[in-house]
Symmetry: C2
């Protein structure tokens, strides 16, 4: 039984997230995902649209994911690897080399991200949106700014 583990925030869940998780799942028998908590994201200065509860529920609802645990800090990975008997730690290669220190505990790999998603695919998506819709989105963001100001 080969156990694979990864970590992430998974805000605004998209096909790039799914690609990475499905590819990691294929590398073992069980995939555990650490989802960053709201408190940890705040510490990182990362703004999320969706709460930890929502992000974790979506990730945990995927067929390729066997277990979700909260990621509360940078230091817990060593302990998680030991506790969950992790064989393979995998991240997207935007983190290349950043977790090599975990190689004492398990195999560490960095998967290439799907570049078609972030460039060609995005451009194709954008080509489908008419400028009027984007204007409406901008107007929507103006309303959001008003609400945020009112909440302050």
């Amino acid at each position: 039984m080969k156990i694979v583990m990864t970590y992430g925030t998974f805000d605004l869940f998209h096909i790039g997230h799914l690609n990475l998780l499905e590819r990691l799942a294929e590398l073992g028998d069980k995939l555990i995902v650490g989802v960053s908590t709201d408190e940890f994201n705040q510490e990182k200065g990362k703004q999320c649209l969706y709460s930890y509860q929502e992000r974790a529920r979506i990730v945990g609802a995927l067929k390729c994911v066997d277990k979700v645990i909260p990621e509360n800090n940078w230091q817990q990975k060593q302990q998680d690897i030991i506790e969950h008997k992790v064989d393979l730690f995998g991240m997207g290669n935007d983190w290349q080399g950043k977790f090599d220190n975990l190689q004492d505990l398990c195999e560490v790999i960095y998967l290439s991200r799907t570049p078609t998603i972030s460039t060609t695919q995005l451009k194709l998506s954008l080509a489908k949106i008419d400028p009027q819709t984007i204007q409406k989105m901008k107007q929507g963001l103006d309303s959001v700014l008003d609400i945020v100001k009112a909440l302050e």
Copy 2:
């Protein structure tokens, strides 16, 4: 074996989508989801950020979903219900009464949407976003407008 069916676009997958799909899945043994194709959305005048292929893959990757089929037009539902031996047709209650004509073929229900997602939850999410981030999003949309113009 009770077969449940629903339809939708599922662009920008969020917790409201998951809530609806998981509740529908609980009402039967198998959940089939018709995902609107890009051509059908275009016909409806509906703009999507993600392609049919991406939206269908995310929905199909969920534990609660057993099968995804393309939704190509308004008329196919009768045929789908017969072909897939559907016992229960369910939609969110923003469609209340709109599919009562299918009651000759199977049970039809409209599920209440989770209002906490669209109002309280959204406001809570907005409160977490600082105005600077929203300004950056607006600048991002300006770049998008430029790309769209360049693609025209």
